[in-house]
Symmetry: C2
Subunit: 238 residues, 2 copies
């Protein structure tokens, strides 16, 4: 069986912030969503609401939304991806941003590659990438660490080691935290890193309260912003 | 002087492939371009052509395009960014994709942060990110290395070391090559890496000849694609 008889898997980015639809979603994504019947989504409610908001004139209850999250066991991934094998196109949507990056969408993508199914990424917003663009830091060499350890000492060690890599390799260090712990993480960064190290804080990207600032640790210490519950990407550079 | 008196620096993504305008450029980007008079660009000719293609009804010859490339000396960056300080908004555009990532736009961004000028990233296509989404690999932990060393032995060492990091850290390894050397790089990857290591090759993203495939090195060895002069992102994962 070749790729022609199978469906395609579309990777569909979703807005990062409320009311940021026209800022971030392309005509192409709207067109693709308009002709898909099958969706794999991190959160069915948000996904239905997003598709409804596009006002495509389709009956939401006739579309198939299957939940795909980090706890979905392998055999279930196989089952919910099965329409692809039977020639149906499917769309993967993240809760916010690009599916497959720091999100369970990669399970469906990996299924697709194993079954010789074409994967089609659509262009859209990624908070990690938009933060990197906006930091002014090295974009030729960067690393994304996801979430840092929760344990205080381990986290400090992680920060120290990232700072060293930034100096040694000229490599931009990107990481994040659960939004309600952002202020603690920021405090730890300001305590742990060298005064001349550069920190970029990128919060509420594409939202009305977007803040993106790069300053030295020393200058951040003079004016600590309130990041509580605000989706934020942190970047370090030396 | 506060941010209110100054201009804003908009980071404007451009299409990755010819004829991919509606696939990748948002309404918001078109709107922002439509009201800017000052642009910092990697290549003036391509940038003018891109702005013209949007058919905004503006006289291209009345817009200001300044070249910003990796050889632009620091004092010149200061000079061409000066309209920002005087309250004019400016846009940075890359040759293709997102400015500031693997492109000289970061020099303007870094100027903006040093002068307390607001940086506004717009959503758009990034071949690195679209390749990562489409690989099925770990998106919680990844590293982008840019170009590998040209020296054969150094390049093999780099490939070996990336493969080890992929195994040791479960970290996706992303890199690229000048398109006319892609086939050589692919041959080196297939010779150097373990048969069971996974390789994703993402070529001509958003273009009519887009190919994105993840397979083991062993399977790639059986069917080597022709990547000559095709913009390609390579990803390794264990």
């Amino acid at each position: 069986m070749n790729q022609q008889n199978k469906g395609k898997l579309y990777l569909i980015p979703t807005p990062l912030a409320a009311d940021a639809l026209h800022k971030t979603i392309t005509e192409e994504s709207v067109k693709v969503i308009g002709r898909l019947d099958y969706f794999l989504v991190e959160n069915v409610r948000t996904a239905r609401r997003f598709v409804s908001s596009l006002k495509l004139g389709r009956k939401i209850e006739e579309l198939h939304f299957e939940m795909l999250d980090k706890n979905t066991p392998a055999h279930e991934v196989e089952a919910i991806c099965n329409p692809l094998v039977n020639g149906r196109d499917m769309g993967v949507m993240s809760e916010a941003g690009c599916p497959g990056i720091a999100d369970p969408g990669h399970l469906a993508v990996s299924f697709a590659h194993r079954h010789d199914i074409t994967v089609v990424p659509l262009s859209g917003p990624s908070s990690i990438f938009m933060a990197l663009m906006s930091s002014g830091f090295n974009g030729q060499s960067f690393v994304f660490h996801g979430y840092l350890p929760i344990d205080r000492q381990q986290r400090k060690n992680a920060l120290k080691s990232m700072e060293q890599e930034a100096v040694r390799k000229g490599q931009t260090q990107i990481f994040m935290e659960t939004p309600y712990r952002n202020d603690k993480l920021l405090a730890d960064i300001l305590k742990t890193c060298n005064p001349q190290t550069l920190l970029c804080v990128a919060s509420d990207i594409t939202g009305p309260d977007e803040i993106i600032r790069t300053m030295s640790i020393k200058n951040w210490q003079k004016s600590m912003p309130d990041l509580h519950k605000r989706p934020t990407i942190f970047l370090l550079y030396a």
